[in-house]
Symmetry: C2
Subunit: 355 residues, 2 copies
């Protein structure tokens, strides 16, 4: 594909995650992107729908774990190709596979499969603003409006303006402490790093070659030895296993020179905890988010969700109560990231059947 006045963008949807931060909802067999967390479909289906505008987007490339092939095929019709990772190696190798599968001149929009963007029109506008810079060889990141002093996210510091609403990225900061995070929010030149990037395939391949040559080499070998089955691509397992497991932030973004940032207040959330899910969900008059068969009696500020059993919550405040067929979580909303302690305890008890 040659660069043209109105090029189309190929979405690269990364669906390799198998997080446990929303246990017991999220499991190895049903990772977060497969869950309907906000209504209207799975996070993956909503992500695919967000890049379905044929005026701007071409058919997407999806990179996912091999065990997720069938579930994904059902959720995302019309894929350009489905690259099935033989093993999870973090985001940089996944993006390398996609960049090699695309044409060098293709514009790629890399985006996680399990994030929420409430303002789809704003999202499209931000991508359009980024387009000329991506065509010019920049890696363009999207800076999500830092709405609070979140210590669980990475931040991007804006540098010099490159154009209307486009800045050079001065610095990437990984998960700051609470004071630094508060200063970032107050200062107004830092955005959250939402893990969404636009660039030419060639730009990414060249950046990988310069900053992460082992990853690029392994990805090339894996794609050279790939088995193809219709739209499904099975990279060579042994070759891919040789790749370092690194995030794209670490492998490329923090090191590359021509990185831009387009600030985008588009209602983004990674829904990285039940507290975050509570924050982005519709709440009743008592501040409860209730989903599934549940009774909230004199309850306030709670997230109550059931995928099966009837949950009766009486006289409680600010709790997360999540029930599935085989597991129940109860934790104060403000401590919902502590779910990982339950996951660790279950691992220690060899209860992988519950993970």
């Amino acid at each position: 594909m040659s660069v043209s006045p109105s090029p189309r963008v190929t979405p690269v949807i990364l669906s390799g995650g198998a997080g446990t931060r929303l246990w017991p909802l999220s499991r190895a067999a049903s990772p977060k992107q497969m869950l309907d967390l906000t209504g209207g479909g799975s996070m993956l289906a909503l992500t695919a729908a967000r890049v379905a505008d044929a005026g701007l987007f071409a058919a997407p490339i999806l990179v996912a774990g091999a065990d997720q092939a069938e579930a994904i095929a059902a959720q995302v019709p019309g894929l350009a190709c489905l690259i099935l990772e033989p093993a999870p190696r973090n985001t940089a190798p996944a993006i390398a596979l996609a960049a090699l599968a695309a044409g060098r001149d293709d514009l790629l929009l890399v985006l996680p499969s399990d994030h929420l963007v409430r303002d789809a029109a704003g999202f499209g506008a931000a991508v359009r603003r980024a387009l000329p810079f991506a065509q010019d060889g920049w890696i363009v990141t999207f800076g999500m409006k830092a709405e609070r002093a979140e210590t669980g996210y990475g931040y991007i510091e804006r540098g010099a303006a490159l154009g209307e609403g486009v800045f050079a990225a001065a610095r990437f900061i990984e998960k700051p402490g609470p004071e630094a995070a508060a200063a970032f929010v107050a200062g107004g030149v830092h955005d959250w790093n939402g893990g969404i990037f636009l660039m030419l395939a060639a730009t990414m391949i060249d950046a990988l070659g310069r900053h992460a040559p082992d990853i690029l080499k392994a990805a090339r070998a894996a794609m050279a030895g790939a088995r193809r089955d219709g739209k499904r691509v099975h990279p060579d397992a042994a070759a891919f296993a040789a790749s370092p497991a690194q995030s794209i932030d670490y492998a490329v973004m923090e090191k590359a020179e021509r990185v831009a940032v387009v600030p985008a207040a588009i209602g983004w959330s990674d829904i990285g905890s039940f507290a975050a899910l509570h924050l982005v969900s519709d709440r009743d008059g008592d501040g409860n988010v209730v989903a599934g068969p549940a009774l909230a009696i004199d309850a306030s500020g709670c997230l109550i969700r059931s995928d099966g059993p009837m949950v009766a919550a009486i006289g409680v405040a600010d709790l997360v109560i999540v029930a599935t067929r085989d597991a129940v979580l109860v934790v104060p909303r403000a401590e919902s990231q502590r779910v990982r302690e339950a996951v660790e305890a279950l691992k220690a008890k060899k209860r992988e059947d519950l993970l």
Copy 2:
């Protein structure tokens, strides 16, 4: 049976209850007496074991709902007879049926099927102390040591001493207010009414005839028309339906003249709420009672019980968390009686399948 120097006592175990105070554990199909709440067996099985000493007790009479026949037969072997109530009519009609099934000279020990008595030896000693008074025509109640100002129980006020550890019952007080309850505990002459009574069958029949003739008449007709099937007795449904539904306290105890009370500090609890269950159960170092598959992580003062799903409770205090296959309850321990609000809400939603 004639009155002899060492008469045996026929236990009359009342198993008609279908309480919902321990929902979602207790259900119509598995009432509280069928649950293993304290370990070692169902409340009914523990009750039967408590009156298994052949030196003191004869084979028991059990009065239960007709739908419970099979479950009870499995739990209590060696019954003298199993009287299956065609419909629940409260305790007085149930006791009337049992008294009519027994011989007039039989000593009957009426006891609920779903109460806890931790001191079995003390229980036997109290029964022995009551025996001569029962043989002499008294209805002897057992006064459970009032350990706290409980407003959910009835109280018995001791009157004149009749003998060593035996008093005339001066007064029955149904569920006092908190101030009265506190005064009772402080005063030391009031005991909890545990619903356990010893008397001759003839004494009970005569008292019913005097104070509740309609109940006695209906019970006589129901037993006259009863269908017998081995040890199972099916009283006539239409005749039994004519009986007023009254408690034995209301129908007889509060009105009869020769009522005695034997104070008995025997570790009694009716386990009428999850708070009561927490109180009588073994607690870990953090004050938690944990039963079934559960993780208590930085939790304290909680009752966590699962009959199926893995429960993970993290960073919570003084909660009741009860999970079954199809329902989950979360309520502060001090408000655990509010479970009835969930039961009422489920009734309103026509979710009898969960009750």
